[in-house]
């Protein structure tokens, strides 16, 4: 991991439907890091990703990705959208068809897929452990398998930055563990940078190099051990949650401060 920033956001403000979603935020993502983006619902996490992807325009401030304005680095960014956003389960495409879509890009409109595309597709499917399901209909996969297929699609284009938007929503706890281990493996083997939006505060803080906690503004930004000090999570979440530290460097559960035994794990 280097100190070179591949994402630089400065004074960014986004207003959607008359509401301020992001308010003058400044942050960066280091090359080779695994960065977690956390925050309560409506905090602007997904909006930030969409700004970085060029899908949403800010009203103020700048965002640079690989030194370019958002939308100018298509081939360098792999994107994994929220599972719920990706089509109905009856869409007639196989896992292989979906993964191969990762080879598309603005520089190669038209024509057919070639052998290099097929090889890259196969390698990407093997990387996420889905090669044996290549011919299976995408919609027949479980939630966790679908997310892995979408990661393979993102990896198929050879990205240097992987952006994931709540990839573990609807995935069971065991599958989540496998999922995060797979991400860590991909990060090491492909030397990529990963930024991941998640609600799993406990899990994510134990996995990432850097943690960013958003709630319209940036509440935390730094290594999780440092960032979780001083009760900033509680402030970001509106004093509803707190991180419980197990031993040293193992931040885990977030608990409702005023709850009566209803732990979230």
């Amino acid at each position: 991991m280097s100190n070179l920033n591949i994402v630089e956001v400065e004074g960014l403000t986004v207003i959607l439907g008359g509401c301020v979603v992001l308010d003058d935020i400044t942050l960066n993502i280091r090359a080779g890091s695994f960065t977690g983006l956390i925050g309560p619902n409506g905090a602007g996490k997904s909006t930030l990703l969409k700004v970085l992807l060029g899908l949403i325009q800010p009203v103020r401030g700048t965002a640079r990705v690989f030194g370019h304005a958002p939308g100018g680095s298509h081939g360098l960014i792999g994107y994994v959208p929220q599972s719920a956003n990706t089509q109905d389960s009856g869409f007639p495409v196989s896992v292989q068809d979906v993964v191969m879509m990762g080879r598309l890009g603005p520089d190669r409109i038209g024509g057919l897929y070639n052998q290099a595309d097929r090889d890259a597709t196969w390698e990407a499917m093997e990387g996420v452990g889905l090669a044996s399901m290549a011919k299976q209909r995408f919609g027949s996969l479980s939630g966790g398998e679908r997310q892995r297929a979408l990661i393979a699609r993102a990896m198929c284009g050879g990205p240097r930055l992987l952006l994931l938007d709540e990839p573990t929503t609807g995935v069971d706890v065991v599958a989540q563990d496998d999922f995060y281990n797979m991400l860590t493996r991909l990060k090491e083997s492909h030397k990529i940078t990963i930024a991941l939006v998640s609600h799993d505060v406990g899990v994510i803080t134990s996995m990432v190099d850097d943690l960013i906690c958003l709630n319209q503004k940036v509440f935390l930004h730094g290594p999780p051990g440092e960032a979780l000090k001083d009760g900033m999570i509680g402030k970001a979440y509106g004093s509803q949650t707190e991180i419980v530290m197990h031993g040293h460097d193992v931040p885990h559960r977030h608990l409702p401060v005023h709850g009566e035994g209803d732990e979230n794990g």
Binding site: L53, L55, H74, V93, D97, M101
Partner: protein, 285 residues
């Protein structure tokens, strides 16, 4: 057994019940060739209409053709070309409305569709001395297809096939996950416009045979049958082509044999295929 044409349009014509008798007439040969071309065109476009859930847009564009034709009648322009220009304009307008937001897509289509029809009625009212066989345009007629219509349909099919083959993977990615396609740098706005224009030209070249009201049947049903019966888009495309051709040939024969509007008979055969497909026992993975 032979029968006389009950419409009175062709009083001296005797109709045999066999297919070979049907094909002995020049107008039926033209109708059949046009039907096979239009069926292929509709089948290909239908796959994307179903994948991208554009059924209502297809109906909106086809109904707006009435406005285009009526304006052509008012200004003395060739009806096919006036409908083509009007439908392409309407298709692009619907695409723009759906991207712009502010109103939901179905509301935008509903407004464009009804105002186009209204414009058509007003234009027909002003072109008082113009006599149009409205029934034929609304529901299709095997007698209405001319050699130039066949040539236009053939040319349109050739261009459409080139476009679809060249952009197939982009079209599929757009239908599967539009936002993601945009992130990959695919010009989804251009892809959407291309799809809308394909829809518009398919509607216009199909109108003579299928009618303004019923052309949407072949824009939806073949692809829908393929979707119901197939696990992948290749099978969906193959089944869509098969259903469109069977519906067209059988529908034209029924139209000839029983002297009913060709659009209605084709649509009914297609609808039968759809319900048979839905009822067909199948196993999903």
């Amino acid at each position: 057994m032979a029968m006389m044409c009950p419409t009175g349009i062709c009083p001296s014509m005797e109709r045999g019940t066999r297919m070979v008798d049907m094909l002995s007439h020049g107008f039926m040969q033209r109708a059949l060739v046009a039907g096979l071309i239009v069926g292929t065109l509709c089948a290909v476009v239908s796959v994307f209409v179903v994948l991208k859930k554009l059924s209502f847009i297809g109906a909106g564009i086809s109904h707006s053709a009435f406005g285009g034709m009526a304006l052509g009648a008012l200004f003395g322009v060739n009806l096919t070309f006036s409908a083509m220009a009007f439908c392409v304009g309407v298709a692009l307008l619907i695409g723009w409305l759906s991207r712009r937001g502010g109103v939901s897509e179905d509301v935008g289509i509903g407004v464009v569709f009804s105002s186009s029809m209204a414009m058509g009625v007003v234009a027909l009212g002003f072109s008082g001395d113009y006599t149009v066989d409205l029934f034929s345009y609304l529901f299709g007629s095997i007698l209405a297809v001319s050699s130039s219509d066949v040539a236009l349909a053939g040319g349109t099919l050739a261009v459409a096939l080139v476009v679809v083959v060249a952009l197939f993977k982009e079209l599929l990615a757009y239908c599967f996950d539009e936002e993601w396609a945009m992130v990959r740098g695919i010009n989804t706005r251009l892809i959407q416009d291309i799809l809308m224009v394909l829809l518009a030209v398919t509607v216009v070249v199909s109108i003579k045979l299928l009618g303004i009201i019923l052309v949407s049947a072949l824009l939806v049903i073949p692809g829908a049958v393929g979707r119901v019966l197939s696990e992948n888009y290749r099978g969906q495309m193959a089944l869509s082509l098969a259903v469109a051709q069977v519906s067209t040939v059988a529908g034209l024969y029924i139209s000839y044999r029983f002297d009913v509007a060709s659009g209605a008979s084709v649509a009914l055969v297609a609808a039968f295929c759809f319900f048979a497909a839905v009822a067909w026992p199948r196993r999903r993975a």
